[in-house]
């Protein structure tokens, strides 16, 4: 029997396989990777009756144009995404996120673009046929780890899908609106006191613009210069996703999934876990504001985030 696969007719800008990320390897320099927007990754999987740990295809801004070969699948797309299905008889259907569709051999899926966000997710019933590396399906393009030799997809490549002939998937759909709020809640960083009083105040009061120098590694911001009165370098130490670090030029950088595991810039703050999906989805050109919360508040906000994610997952199942 021939293998079922999606042929890539247009790769999109940054199309990779991702899952919930890679653990226990920071100490050798391998970062977490994984879906930038974990909730949307999980919802995409749930909509095609997959476990949330299955890999999905993540794309940024412009998505891929894909043609299904040798089979029949259900797929779902999540995020704030415009897409259409071009049936093999040339009929065109407008697609809606957060519901599943049937795709048949030689049908095309044209993921046109994300709208007021950066990342979108595609999952297929049965799941993609990838091998795990260090217990994760996530692509790490820096060290070329993960499916497709750890690289972004290019035109002409194939994404293989596990065979699942007898799988019958119910129609599944939910109403979900992506949050676009630009207030980012943070905890003070371990070097907060390296900055002048004036800069500490400005960090929480002024707006910061997300610049074009933004990718899966991090988000460079521009705004009031944060004046370091102690030292613009610290002895290199571990980093985590969400750290807001400030290099000598005084412009903050928010570290995201593919960040370096060690760094020597002072940390003024750390984005709370509950806001990480949302911050990753804010496109360049957006102005954001930081708000300080306490550790207890951050922990409670994460509980709310998780229970809301579960509420939607349960609504699908």
């Amino acid at each position: 029997m021939s293998e079922v696969y999606l042929e890539i007719l247009r790769s999109g800008i940054n199309t990779t396989a991702q899952d919930c990320g890679r653990k226990h390897l920071y100490h050798i320099g391998i970062t977490v990777s994984g879906a930038m927007d974990l909730r949307n990754h999980k919802l995409a999987n749930a909509l095609v009756a997959n476990k949330t740990e299955e890999p999905s295809i993540e794309f940024a801004y412009q998505g891929p144009l894909l043609k299904l070969k040798n089979g029949k699948i259900n797929f779902a797309i999540t995020g704030d995404v415009a897409f259409k299905i071009v049936r093999k008889n040339s009929m065109v259907e407008e697609g809606k996120c957060y519901q599943n569709y049937l795709l048949e051999s030689d049908d095309q899926l044209d993921i046109i673009s994300t709208k007021k966000s950066v990342y979108g997710y595609l999952s297929v019933s049965g799941g993609f046929k990838f091998k795990k590396t260090w217990n994760s399906f996530s692509v790490n393009t820096k060290a070329n780890i993960g499916p497709n030799n750890g690289k972004k997809y290019s035109i002409g490549e194939k994404i293989f899908i596990k065979n699942h002939e007898n799988l019958k998937i119910k129609e599944k759909k939910i109403n979900y609106t992506n949050p676009t709020n630009n207030l980012i809640r943070v905890l003070k960083g371990t070097n907060f006191n390296y900055f002048s009083n004036d800069s500490q105040n400005k960090f929480f009061k002024d707006e910061y613009l997300i610049t074009n120098l933004t990718d899966r590694m991090g988000m460079r911001l521009k705004g009031s210069i944060l004046e370091n009165i102690k030292s613009t370098n610290i002895k290199s130490e571990g980093l985590i996703k969400g750290v807001v670090q400030v290099p000598a030029d005084g412009n903050p950088i928010i570290l995201l999934n593919d960040h370096g595991t060690i760094g020597g810039y002072p940390k003024i703050g750390v984005v709370i876990s509950a806001d990480l999906d949302r911050v990753a989805q804010l496109p360049p050109g957006t102005s954001i504001k930081f708000k300080e919360v306490s550790l207890v508040e951050a922990e409670n906000l994460f509980k709310n985030y998780l229970s809301e994610t579960n509420k939607y997952l349960n609504a699908i199942n």
């Binding site: 920071y26 100490h27 050798i28 790490n140 571990g238 980093l239 595991t261 060690i262 984005v271």
Partner: protein, 228 residues
């Protein structure tokens, strides 16, 4: 000994072992790291997702859906670290070619240090280095300490792309760029040796914290014909 424990965000713990960089403090960090790695394997503490040892800090990341700061902090404070397991440490020899096409920053270094290239190289090759940590990019070792006469600041403007294999120096430290990467260290040569091998699933990194490293010079011809 951990001097202070604080939170780094809501899903990590920041263990501070001091501000100085030396083998004694670093060995303390590595001792905790090794002990905690075993604890995680034996599932004695749930929810830890990563351990990041560095010169004098240890960051413990955890899954906030499973545990939280005060839980993990209590467990770390109550740990009785046994010193029974001696750290395994090995000596690694790294070939480097320092021809001008690889040693991109000799001119800058010569000017800043007022030393000829030959002298810088001699002092660099004449030493056995200690690996403090690995990271930033996969497998990159942070080695020390350089001879006092060849210590120099980072480049004012970091390179967008440092070629894979480059060996660099800055302040008291030496490193190896295991992958092409942005970077601001002074590049003095390149090694053809593979430091990170993803094929070796169980042991992908050649140089580990606690290991000793010696650099030796090779010709460009040896570099180009390098075969492992």
């Amino acid at each position: 000994m951990i001097k202070n424990i604080s939170n780094l965000g809501d899903a990590a713990i920041y263990c501070d072992f001091g501000t100085e960089v030396n083998e004694t403090i670093n060995s303390e960090v590595i001792k905790y790291f090794n002990y905690l790695s075993d604890v995680i394997k034996e599932r004695k503490i749930e929810g830890i997702t990563n351990l990041t040892p560095s010169y004098n800090k240890l960051i413990i990341s955890f899954d906030l859906g499973i545990t939280n700061f005060s839980n993990i902090k209590k467990k770390i404070e109550n740990l009785k670290i046994e010193d029974s397991k001696k750290q395994s440490s090995k000596k690694v020899k790294i070939p480097v070619c320092c021809d001008d096409k690889y040693g991109l920053d000799f001119k800058r270094l010569s000017e800043k240090l007022s030393l000829p290239k030959e002298e810088i190289l001699k002092l660099y090759l004449d030493k056995e280095y200690f690996c403090y940590m690995t990271g930033f990019i996969a497998g990159m070792p942070f080695l020390g300490d350089l001879d006092k006469n060849i210590r120099c600041d980072r480049l004012e403007t970091p390179r967008v792309k440092v070629p894979k294999g480059s060996v660099g120096i800055t302040e008291q430290f030496a490193n190896i760029y295991t992958f092409e990467s942005p970077g601001g260290w002074n590049v003095i040569g390149s090694t053809p040796k593979k430091i990170f091998k993803k094929e070796n699933i169980n042991d992908p990194v050649l140089i580990k914290p606690g290991d000793k490293v010696i650099f030796y010079e090779i010709t460009n011809e040896e570099y180009l014909n390098w075969n492992e």
